[in-house]
């Protein structure tokens, strides 16, 4: 089934009876060449690129729940490539370029919207840091503009410019950044992978690894044993738990991050605004809800819900930045469990176990990485070599002293 404007009109005129499920529901086969653990955005993207770009034929994705039940369906949908460090920025810009062609490539509407992201600054020092970051972005082929106070005022006159503690002095704008429909991304990749013959198996939890002579041979699952030559683990906030089953400890803690949506409002924010000083970021969904979030709760958690003090803190940040949102009612909030790695950066690497590969540590910024993460992980699984933009995401970088400490807070995952 190919999506097109013609198809939409035809279905509208014939009672929408022709739509089909987007992917099959196959039984697990006893054996695959490559099995991906985790049917989130990264796992599905990996399977898609394995089959579509690298020509792998016998691939499966195992998901313990339903597709989209993890962070791919829980995030605040922001995509951007405004990173600073050489280990990071080219990778995120590669991801941005993939986002730009994604919907045409997999013929699915993921509502990629390049509405721009504006990071506000509140001091001369922060402005200097943004200037440096903007230059790093330009050097990596991304776009960046430094706005002064008037430039920000022309875009968003309703912001609180004269906050006594954090007056707005300007901002770093990336116009090509924006948002995407998060579960649409998962569905698009799932459909694309399925069309190329990937078996997507839901309600199939991986409960153990078969490792013989230092090499992975397959997996134990709630739907029986499955043999595999190679296994790629991409389970987001569960990396610690899953890799423990292979006997590995990771430089990762799992933490909860909350997100919030207001009632539907008339269009009032056309881009993404971030207030780093108070830690608050906001955009408006196409249905009108203000989508926003802030800091993680700050302690290890697998609860998929947060606690009230952080709700208060996030909303205080929002009120400080744009007092008028105090009139909006909060519709709902939820939490997602994320890997917080010890330097705040991801891991895409082979492990010391032959044939076992790890994609982890995305912290609260992994949604934007979905296309590049999938591409780079597929590249590693298929060729055995890291993708050129992901050579710094090594598992042993902590031991070697080559951390990618974008935020500069060291080995403190609850501060990243």
């Amino acid at each position: 089934m190919h999506f097109s404007g013609f198809r939409v009109i035809k279905e509208a005129l014939t009672g929408h009876k022709g739509w089909k499920p987007l992917w099959r529901d196959p039984e697990p086969q006893p054996e695959y060449d490559i099995v991906i653990v985790g049917g989130g955005g990264h796992g599905l993207a990996t399977a898609y690129y394995l089959a579509n770009t690298f020509g792998e034929a016998r691939v499966a994705v195992l998901e313990k729940g339903w597709l989209g039940s993890g962070n791919i369906g829980r995030n605040t949908t922001i995509i951007r490539s405004n990173y600073l460090l050489p280990g990071n920025e080219p990778f995120y810009e590669f991801s941005m370029k993939l986002w730009e062609g994604l919907e045409q490539e997999f013929n699915f509407n993921a509502m990629v919207s390049q509405r721009g992201i504006l990071n506000l600054c509140h001091s001369d020092g922060q402005r200097d840091a943004f200037r440096r970051r903007g230059n790093a972005m330009l050097l990596a082929g991304a776009d960046a503009e430094l706005l002064d106070r008037d430039g920000v005022r022309a875009m968003y006159p309703f912001l609180n410019f004269d906050n006594a503690r954090f007056p707005i002095k300007g901002g770093l704008l990336q116009r090509r950044a924006g948002t995407a429909r998060h579960d649409g991304v998962a569905w698009g990749y799932a459909r694309g992978a399925d069309r190329k013959g990937v078996d997507i198996i839901q309600n199939c939890e991986v409960t153990g690894f078969r490792i013989e002579g230092g090499a992975v041979r397959g997996l134990e699952t709630t739907r029986g044993a499955i043999r595999a030559r190679k296994v790629g683990v991409a389970v987001a906030g569960s990396s610690g738990l899953v890799m423990a089953k292979a006997g590995m400890r990771l430089p990762i803690e799992s933490h909860v991050l909350q997100a919030f949506v207001s009632e539907g409002l008339k269009p009032c924010i056309d881009g993404v605004i971030t207030f780093g000083a108070g830690h608050f970021y906001v955009s408006q969904s196409d249905k009108g809800g203000l989508v926003f979030g802030g800091d993680i709760d700050g302690y290890n958690s697998y609860a998929q819900r947060g606690n009230l003090p952080v709700v208060e803190d996030v909303i205080e940040g929002g009120m400080a930045l744009m007092p008028r949102i105090g009139r909006a009612r909060l519709l709902r909030s939820w939490g997602g469990i994320m890997d917080m790695s010890m330097d705040g950066s991801p891991i895409i690497d082979a492990t010391h176990i032959d044939g076992l590969y790890l994609n982890a540590g995305w912290c609260y910024g992994g949604f934007k990485a979905t296309p590049a993460s999938g591409y780079a992980f597929a590249h590693l699984l298929a060729t055995g070599r890291p993708h050129p933009t992901a050579t710094a995401f090594r598992l042993d970088r902590f031991a070697r002293g080559h951390v990618i400490d974008e935020k500069g807070v060291g080995a403190q995952p609850n501060l990243h």
């Binding site: 738990l241 302690y299 609860a303 031991a399």
Partner: protein, 90 residues
Amino acid sequence: MLIPHPLLGLRDAQEFTYLGDAALLDRPDGGDEAAFFDYTYLRDNPAGQHRELWFHEQGDRSWLVVTRDTRTHEIVSAELASDVKRRGGA
């Protein structure tokens, strides 16, 4: 979350700063590079009961070892870290 401080009774978790796994109490010799790498970076990160360090920064500035269920946020117990250390570590 309320933390049952052994000296001060129930205190709001917001008064505390979180440091992470209570195993951090057992700091290895800096000369043992492999052990120090483990200590600094690797974590058990369990789902379930977790012994962890909370600093009562906005209170009596004591360090506590809190046992908490990471799946439910339920707090099972809290002890002074100095007592735990005196008993022979985490």
